[in-house]
Symmetry: C2
Subunit: 291 residues, 2 copies
DNA sequence: AACACCATTTTGTCTATAACAAAATAATGT
DNA sequence: ACATTATTTTGTTATAGACAAAATGGTGTT
């Protein structure tokens, strides 16, 4: 039913990777059409999506690819309960999650606005929004939410943050902090939360958005006379050449510019190039002084 | 300096394509590092980006790849002037373009709001916003705007449309029209403009956003009980398997559901599957009755 | 001249297998 | 307990040929 390109797009697993898994682990083995091309079944794609979810959470192919669906599901559930234990789910969080399940936009916006006013921007983002986003991600990873439902919620939160950001007045005329993600990383909630926190602190920001090619990053850096670049990496970001790319970036920008990287996609990394600094938690951003 | 993966990401031209161009047209011929891997220069990447721009505008590799930079620039300029002739640039349009050049967000929002109030939503979108977006695209294609500048403007217009959409009250409780783009197509302004027009007509809409995998489209269709799907394709969308994908979609949804496709990415296509209908102009959307 | 139909060229994607660097894990010694 | 080294795992790249789908050109018909 599906050619290898479709599978690549629907699962996020590259062609070469699919072929080498087929040879090494004996999965997925597609049937062939009359031209000898690989044709994958819908079931195989679903299994691959499940595998991808587990890989994104830090598992490794050798221990996943080739297992039966029920075995994979068991692993997924174990991981899911393990994650839930780490997360403190209070009443307010439950209310948010209810909105997500019911797809109730009106109620969600009401709750967001209410919580924002009650807690203030900083607390709201660190203690309410960030855990909420993590929870939604877990729900999706556990298969309790469809992708399109997760997208919908993500979009609503994005709109809320965008409108919040535009309402924060910034008086400072120091050089702006540049925010962006690398090509291949298309999650922007992390960037938006950081932008909020920085603007709240009075820091000028320029958010270049997601998937910014490196040459554009360098040019924007010159254009806006920025001294600080902030890059966000989600857990779904998998680029074996990340270190190389960070080195490239460090080479292309002047020495006095600092690059901060953050997000679960880089938290396991050690040894960064000079100029590049790892920020472990959202809170740390606030302690930084970019003057 | 750059490995083939970086080139793929920075230019949007796939690895296989780069290698086959090298074989066929003798460009780009990279040097090799000590491991025998292809290493491309920054200049080669810039040339490839220029070629990609021209390909997106309908030119063909055989007539481009291998030409010198000056020859490519000549072609680019010819095309640019040809496009400008087709476009009626009035005073208001010039004002908009000035904002784009000056990067003046405040003024841009002011102008957008003012024009929206003066012209009304329908005229605003069809006669002001759509030409503006085309013009910005042309300016980028002609190299007068950096990619990050174009992204910035696109983002501002996106925010403006999103906020406009959220302000339109919809009373109708008929089944919603589903809006989406296929994976590989990441332009959402087309979708947003259509969503505006439909909501203005009183039509309920659900915008699934960009790059929606087909299975998600099918599931959302069931979930929201939609009878109409609208897909948008920009000129940058190049997928040789588009016909196959539309066939797949037509197979996976019930017969009574219609799929409308639009945008410059499909305007040259002939012969669509049953259920799939081509809408040539934005205006046509308004004439449709989805009851 | 406009249009449909067929032949030819162009173009991108896919196949196959081997090779190897980079990342992750295990094993070792201090 | 921690750093260093060996081993395994894993993803990406290389090679060249094949071929379907798209684009182009040419022919004939209305």
């Amino acid at each position: 039913m599906f050619l290898i390109t479709s599978v690549e797009r629907d699962t996020g697993i590259g062609r070469d990777r699919l072929r080498v898994w087929e040879r090494r682990y004996g999965f997925p083995i597609p049937v062939r059409n009359k031209h000898g091309k690989r044709v994958y079944s819908e079931q195989q794609i679903r299994t691959l999506q499940l595998i991808k979810r587990l890989l994104d959470q830090g598992m490794h192919p050798g221990k996943l690819v080739g297992l039966s669906d029920s075995q994979l599901n068991t692993i997924s559930q174990d991981l899911s309960t393990k994650n839930q234990l780490k997360l403190i789910i209070n009443d307010r969080m439950n209310e948010f999650i209810d909105c997500v399940y019911c797809n109730d936009t009106q109620k969600l916006w009401g709750l967001l606005e209410q919580t924002l006013i009650q807690q203030g921007l900083k607390t709201f983002i660190i203690e309410s929004l960030a855990p909420l986003i993590t929870t939604v991600g877990d729900q999706w990873a556990a298969g309790h939410l469809n992708i399109f439902e997760e997208h919908f919620i993500t979009h609503q939160i994005t709109l809320f943050l965008d409108s919040t950001i535009s309402k924060i007045p910034v008086i400072s005329n120091t050089s702006p902090v540049l925010l962006a993600t690398f090509p291949g990383e298309n999650h922007n909630l992390g960037l938006l939360m950081i932008e909020c926190l920085l603007k709240d602190k009075g820091q000028l920001t320029v958010n270049l958005g997601i998937e910014v090619p490196m040459d554009q990053l360098v040019m924007a850096c010159q254009r806006y006379k920025s001294k600080v670049i902030l890059l966000s990496f989600s857990s779904a970001y998998s680029n074996s050449g990340l270190r190389t790319e960070l080195n490239d970036l460090a080479q292309q920008i002047p020495d006095h510019i600092s690059v901060y990287v953050g997000g679960s996609g880089v938290k396991k990394m050690r040894k960064f190039p000079k100029q590049v600094i790892l920020t472990h938690r959202l809170q740390n951003i606030l302690d930084l002084d970019f003057s």
